[in-house]
Assembly symmetry: C2
Homo-oligomer: 227 residues x 2
DNA sequence: CTATTAAAGTGTAAATCACACACGAAGGCA
DNA sequence: TGCCTTCGTGTGTGATTTACACTTTAATAG
């Protein structure tokens, strides 16, 4: 069923930069393209926006269709509109970035052609997706220091060391343990659990979860997590 | 000449939130709509993106066509994609925010149906433009504290008091004069001129301009202007 | 030419915050 | 029982931030 307009129109897509954290390095979820152009290249999950859905709905739908991920933290990143970014025709893409917890990470890996890559070792990407990814990384680094979004990448129960590893992985620099813990606890955002995290022949670590009420408040208001 | 596509496509527009500063209050440039829908309502300058121009080109073109403004500071803000934001059909709009100097302000006022409004006293706006404007204001407040973009709103030569008034207008709170000056000068960004600014029966003020090289560097790298 | 007016310009002390840094505690395992 | 590994903690120093009030300057009016 064709649709006709007086003037030519760009096609509108969404693309998602999905970050995950495996305890060591920051990872990005890519899918292998089955179709031309850029067949067999790795690309960001995404696709065309339908005319009856919002941009965010489109991003969530595509994410679920292509990777199985649902109910992730999702935030609009930037809209990419170079004229020749798609060789076929004019395509404008609204890019999003998503943060997912480790439990979701394994689910996503089941998706046929989806795979996690460490940000430090990415394959060549289709279209201008390398630009999009670079933009997303910059944004993630920036955001991490003034919003508590890092927790979106951790499991519900986590240790302070895990939190520190995450900050170190994103920021790309080692942090002082004592100062980090002092600062992390100073926001009164972390609730210590009764449980401990035992792993290996050494003192077990205290587990924490974050206080969802204070978390939401800080996410809106912002803070300054500079270490 | 009609254009036909297999699936329906959203129309793509740009809208610009143009901020100016008159020495007292922060102002926004609006234009009165001549056509339905929302005829005679005030709206953000903007219009349809042509298929052979980038999003930024579209924003600059519309801005010049509708307000006469050229070569302004322009930055992408957010893309608004609610399904019903335009009553006619699906329209997705990439919003931008612009900062202009007072010299440009008067030029813009000449444009037939363009007018400056103080942000504290806005008329009802067309479409979801009130949302867009609110988003832009939040962004401007945020940016001002970590990038030196405030200078985009001042004349080339300005006094420290003018700079302080601007920060106070945007942030909506009074600032301490001595601390403000100390901080503003500490970035080594302001160059004192030989001239003074004389106005009224009192001591004249030192005029400054900013160092364009350091300005660019700081704009990229960011700083932290918290007072 | 003197007094008045109004904004410009300036310094310091106290409090707070950021940073660097090292060692005892806990538990598993051999 | 001793060893290994990671967890968890406090303090002193220097830097930064904050709060705060008076003198300087030039124009204008009398």
């Amino acid at each position: 069923m064709p649709h006709t307009y007086e003037y030519p129109r760009a096609a509108l897509t969404v693309d998602c930069v999905v970050f995950g954290f495996d305890g060591g390095e920051l990872q990005v979820l890519l899918i292998r393209r089955g179709l031309e152009p850029f067949r067999d290249r790795w690309a960001l999950p995404g696709g065309f926006v339908r005319v009856e859905e919002t941009l965010e709905e489109a991003a969530r739908r595509e994410l679920e269709e292509e990777t199985g991920l649902k109910e992730v933290f999702l935030e609009q990143l930037y809209t990419f509109g170079s004229v020749k970014r798609d060789p076929r025709e004019r395509v404008v893409s609204v890019a999003w970035f998503a943060l997912v917890k480790p439990s979701a990470v394994t689910a996503a890996t089941d998706a046929a052609e989806a795979k996690w890559f460490p940000v430090s070792d990415l394959p060549p990407l289709a279209f201008d997706h390398a630009d999009i990814l670079a933009t997303a990384l910059t944004r993630l680094r920036g955001k991490l220091t003034y919003q508590p979004i890092g927790f979106e990448l951790l499991p519900q129960k986590f240790t302070l060391t895990q939190l520190q590893r995450l900050y170190e992985a994103v920021l790309g620099e080692p942090l002082d343990k004592r100062n980090f813990r002092k600062k992390a606890l100073s926001y009164d955002l972390l609730i210590p659990l009764k449980e401990k995290h035992q792993e290996g022949p050494h003192r077990p670590a205290q587990l924490f979860r974050f206080d969802p009420v204070k978390y939401e408040r800080l996410k809106k208001k912002g803070f300054l997590f500079e270490i």
